[in-house]
């Protein structure tokens, strides 16, 4: 089949057009749901996740065989996760499980477990994510030694001290409002916090010093005026820092988590 050959050769866009042609000319002979699913795969590989989800929505889950239904729900979970909607991905994982608990022999087993753990991490449900990871290790570890090793690594990763701390933008901003630089300390940027503290203190001191010696314009404009800018600029900077730091730590934590899962099931992440 031309579409399948194109798909196999990695020409996903061209393959998607030919699958659409197959759907258009199909007079009820070919299973449309399977063609829709294959077209959705094309969009997934083209990283057009929303279009993939739209294509999957066209499949009537009531009328398709169990195997297709499970594939569709699995892909919906994956595409929702890759499109940045971890909450909806978890919902689809749950739906997938309701279609039949996946066993270790199931081709979707590693993918769905990995996805569930990553999505739980993204939604900061640490205890559940740890339980899920430990259960995953227990189910497919080759022997007791591997199981003990990987379980230990999972438990260590999910220790409270290693979990990404959720920084609150408002809190970071309020800390900098109280003492300039404190918000940066809260976000883990000690050097930047110190610089902010010194700069703000210098301008404030300069302003007050000039006012004390009756340099009113100098004190107000060059001292307090610039202090006003650095003070409020620092507060705004802390808000942004908290958000970017949250994204960075979560990404880093998920990378560590994925590294353990890769040791357990090589290629597990790629199956997504």
């Amino acid at each position: 089949m031309v579409a399948d050959s194109l798909f196999a050769a990695g020409n996903f866009f061209e393959a998607s057009v030919y699958y659409e042609a197959a759907l258009f000319y199909n007079a009820g002979t070919l299973p449309e749901d399977e063609l829709n699913l294959k077209k959705a795969y094309c969009y997934k590989f083209l990283e057009r996740y929303q279009e993939c989800l739209t294509q999957l929505d066209q499949i009537n889950l009531v009328s398709v065989p169990d195997s297709v239904r499970r594939s569709v729900v699995y892909e919906q979970a994956v595409c929702n996760y890759l499109a940045g909607d971890a909450q909806r991905a978890l919902m689809k994982v749950l739906q997938f499980k309701q279609l039949g608990a996946p066993s270790a022999e199931d081709p979707f087993f590693a993918g769905i477990k990995t996805l569930e753990i990553l999505a739980l991490n993204e939604t900061r449900q640490w205890e559940q994510a740890e339980r899920c990871a430990v259960a995953f290790v227990a189910e497919i570890a080759e022997n007791e030694e591997v199981k003990a090793n990987l379980t230990g690594r999972v438990e260590k990763l999910f220790q409270k001290k290693n979990l990404p701390k959720e920084l609150k933008s408002e809190k970071a901003k309020d800390l900098s409002r109280f003492v300039p630089g404190l918000g940066q300390f809260y976000c883990g940027r000690v050097k930047e916090g110190l610089v902010s503290l010194v700069v703000n203190a210098s301008f404030l001191y300069f302003g007050l010093h000039q006012l004390y010696y009756k340099y009113y314009f100098t004190g107000y404009m060059a001292g307090l005026g610039i202090f006003h800018k650095t003070y409020f600029g620092g507060m705004h900077r802390c808000e942004i820092l908290a958000q970017t730091e949250n994204e960075r730590t979560l990404k880093s934590f998920n990378a560590s988590c994925l590294a353990i899962l890769e040791d357990l099931y090589p290629g597990g992440g790629e199956t997504l």
Binding site: A3, D4, V17, Y220
Partner: protein, 285 residues
């Protein structure tokens, strides 16, 4: 799954010839289906090597390709494709109108007018629309006499054109009464009173902010000059800051006048284009 693949392979090879006509062009029905699903990139991919003598089939394909390119905002190539649609096609009038609109949007007013002037629109409503488009192009060219002449010939009783013509008239009045902001005047104003050039250019908040900053640093310099003398480090430092801000304020005002003028022209150009587009979409959809 194996069985499905086998069946699909056989059937696909059976369908494949249906995708192509005698000139190796794709089936217009399938292309129309893709356009209906807004799969424009796919249409352009399939019609990449569109060729063959003019026929009802190739006309339709040129129209679909042009329409897809227009939908993807690739206006130049879209106009090229739409102009290939022959007068025998039911898409001919629509293609000419949209080709002219694409050229207008690209600022190619002369080719746009030529397309519309050579077009025999057919019925009275289409002819009215043609005059309306020509009036809009005249306004974009700031040819107010031609605009008023064309607008006067329009029959505004049709709902598609009535409101849009009122808006075009309002744009014309505003453009005619508009006095261009001079960058030189803005610079002189800011040299005399810091920030005044920006206020003249219509950027009042920026002007007030500039006034406070420049005057503030001027006062700081003056204060240090009086108390410490001109050779004192603080006087030199704040004097330098003041000079930088003062020169920057003049330079900024010159730019503000240019930016302000560009913004005004851009806003009215977009407003006119929008008002040319709306009746086209209403008329043909």
């Amino acid at each position: 799954m194996q069985l499905f693949l086998k069946k699909a392979t056989i059937l696909f090879y059976l369908f494949l010839p249906l995708l192509l006509d005698a000139q190796n062009n794709p089936d217009p029905l399938f292309i129309q289906h893709l356009v209906g699903k807004k799969m424009y990139s796919e249409v352009i991919f399939l019609l990449e090597d569109l060729e063959g003598a003019s026929s009802a089939q190739t006309d339709s394909l040129h129209y679909f390709k042009g329409w897809s390119l227009y939908s993807l905002k690739s206006l130049g190539p879209s106009a090229d494709q739409l102009l290939r649609v022959s007068p025998a096609s039911p898409f001919y009038v629509k293609s000419r109108f949209f080709a002219a609109y694409n050229q207008t949007h690209l600022g190619n007013y002369l080719p746009a007018k030529e397309i519309l002037l050579r077009l025999n629109a057919g019925d009275r409503e289409a002819e009215n629309l043609r005059l309306f488009q020509l009036a809009g192009i005249s306004l974009l060219e700031k040819n107010y006499v031609a605009f008023e002449n064309l607008a006067g010939r329009l029959d505004t009783s049709h709902y598609v054109l009535h409101d849009e013509l009122l808006t075009l008239n309002s744009c014309a009045n505003r453009l005619k009464s508009h006095r261009q902001k001079s960058p030189a005047v803005a610079g002189v104003f800011s040299a005399l009173v810091p920030g005044a050039g920006k206020i003249y250019a219509g950027k009042t908040a920026q002007g007030i902010s500039t006034l406070i900053t420049v005057v503030g640093f001027g006062l700081v310099t003056l204060e240090n000059w009086k108390k410490n003398g001109p050779e004192n480090f603080k006087t030199i430092l704040f004097g330098s800051v003041f000079t930088t801000f003062y020169i920057g304020n003049i330079y900024g005002s010159v730019y503000a006048a240019r930016i302000s003028e560009n913004e005004f022209q851009h806003e009215y150009q977009n407003r006119i284009l929008f008002n040319l587009h709306i009746p086209l979409r209403n008329f043909f959809n």
